[in-house]
Symmetry: C2
Subunit: 341 residues, 2 copies
DNA sequence: CTGAAAGCGCTAACAC
DNA sequence: GTGTTAGCGCTTTCAG
């Protein structure tokens, strides 16, 4: 492995000069610059990023913590984050907590502030104390896709208005004439996806407050996956066969709803309309293609990277919140007019 | 950020002793050990991994290069690789080349041997010269999921017998009585998935060599995605409406086949059997659930991590190839007996 | 414009 | 057992 020193010797200059040439710092004569560059090429020199990081006091990597790649949203987000990081000359360390907060803590404890200065946190398997502690250790951390603007997390975050997403989804159903609407929420009551449900209630209330009362019995809280959506649909339709539409707080379980409907011989959207939230890639690949409320994933990823870099440069006492663009409706084939009455 | 030195001062010992305590190296008296540990806790000290990496001459990270996360196989592999790496105390740097070999080269050039000693390569957007060069720079590189055992890549690799996968898939179709079989291959002729096609030919030849001749006209080479599979199916069925089964070299385009069949009003598997290869998570979520030949993804990821660490410890001149377990048939709902004759 | 020198935080021989 | 002494490869003042 050729080092800076060797290049310097080869070019007949000092390491400092080579460094200056390579980073366009300080003034270097055109002649020496050429000579140095030639040596670099001749020796096939590549800077040692670890050494550079140590000397500069900052690592060129950002860490992204996700709970489980099984949720197809995470890879999509990770991809965008990686792109954003790369564009800014950083590498992305992907840390999978496997839904285990101990793994998350361990990860944070090891890398935050040493191997990577900035940490992007996707999920909240992590206790906030850990995040705060990581900040104490000199790492900048930002929570990506925070869903509860009214309940600031105590760390910097990118907020996405999922309540509005819930409203939009519901409004679409309402516009199509649906009044018998069931709900499937991919988390525990009050969990991460709770705001989406609040949005549902918002929209319902505005049209007819009695709808909200009924809704309570027609809501299921499930695991945020296909199986969860499937089981919830079965339970929902067993209890209330007259439902004409199902609001699902996330696309992933919505796919399960589609399966359940098919297994019950229900045609979507004629017999049952289904709408999700997020617009993951797979939404368009479902049959029928899933109507959903899209959320600015790429933008949020980019903002998260930008915010964490900003925090690294300008550390501040108070947590900062950046708001991403509003969600928007993506009409596909899984919703249609309410035919039953 | 507390440093080793500060801990040492706090505990009234030298940095070396603290280091020894922390890494259980060298002999340290029980009393001093306690004292040091107490100081570590009191000061909230965490070792700086960058500094450690520089001193040790090796980084605690492995890099994984993938071409695009759009292909759902990559995240699945990445997840397993991350787990394997974590189990061995390494962090995983995920590098997305976005199907651009320049990005791949740049990545390799920057991190190989400096930020991470080992590189796992998933795809072959990368020119092999780049890989070889990276090795010259002191990085260990292993190609994951190499499909052409008879054409060794010149770098170490984990080989998976995709030819056998192709055979198994075909044999299954043959066993069900299919003789009018079309083929969709998710790459250029001779491309990365070519061996799967060779396996198809193998199996066909063994039953009836005339099948192979026909096959030529009933093969489509497409982009390795849903759209590719969709378009190919349309083209295939337009040209040969009497096909009773379609062999697809990969699950991802196989999902497109399912869509195309549905759009043509074909029932799967009654009117058309469809089989894929890989067994990505989504295969089971398709409607009907996709029959496929599973490949040992998790094992390959683990082997890749193990091999790269092994190469780091025992550098060798000759490339090493490790063979993963054989593929196996996973029968689900997209294949059935040939009904047409 | 270029060189000398100190130091980032840690590890690893080797003395004591 | 514990301390001393060099670095790891690079950046960065600060002289010259």
């Amino acid at each position: 492995m050729t080092t800076l020193n060797e290049v310097a010797r080869h070019a007949g200059v000092t390491p400092a000069t080579v460094s200056n040439v390579l980073r366009n710092r300080g003034k270097v004569g055109a002649a020496t610059r050429e000579r140095v560059l030639a040596s670099v090429a001749a020796l096939g020199y590549r800077p040692n990023l670890t050494a550079r990081a140590l000397a500069e006091g900052r690592a060129p990597t950002l860490a992204l913590m996700v709970s489980s790649i099984a949720n197809p949203f995470y890879p999509e987000f990770a991809l965008e984050a990686e792109r954003a990081a790369r564009k800014r000359g950083r590498f992305l360390l992907v840390c999978n907590t496997d839904n285990d907060s101990n793994v998350g803590s361990a990860y944070l404890d090891q890398i935050a502030g040493t191997l990577s200065q900035g940490v992007l946190v996707m999920n909240a398997d992590l206790h906030f104390d850990d995040l705060i502690k990581a900040q104490g250790h000199g790492a900048s951390v930002v929570l990506c896709m925070w869903e509860k603007p009214d309940q600031p997390p105590g760390v910097s975050c990118i907020a996405v208005d999922f309540r509005q997403a819930g409203r939009l989804a519901t409004q679409h159903l309402l516009d199509l004439g649906h009044r018998r609407i069931g709900a499937i929420v991919g988390c525990q009551p009050g969990g991460v996806q709770a705001m989406r449900y609040v949005g549902l209630v918002d929209a319902l209330e505005q049209v007819d407050p009695t709808l909200t009362a009924k809704l309570e019995h027609e809501t299921r809280y499930v695991e945020d996956n296909v199986e969860g959506g499937y089981a919830a649909t079965m339970s929902l339709l067993d209890a209330s066969p007259d439902l004409t539409a199902i609001f699902v707080s996330n696309d992933f379980p919505a796919l399960g709803v589609l399966h359940a409907a098919a297994d019950r011989g229900l045609r979507v959207p004629d017999d049952l309309s289904v709408i999700g939230i997020t617009d993951i890639h797979w939404a368009r690949l479902a049959r029928p293609a899933l109507t959903t409320v899209a959320v600015p994933t790429a933008q949020a990823a980019e903002m998260a990277v930008e915010l964490v870099l900003d925090l690294i440069h300008n550390p501040r006492k108070e947590p900062t919140t950046w708001i991403a663009d509003e969600p928007w409706l993506v009409e596909r084939k899984s919703t249609g007019p309410a035919l039953k009455t």
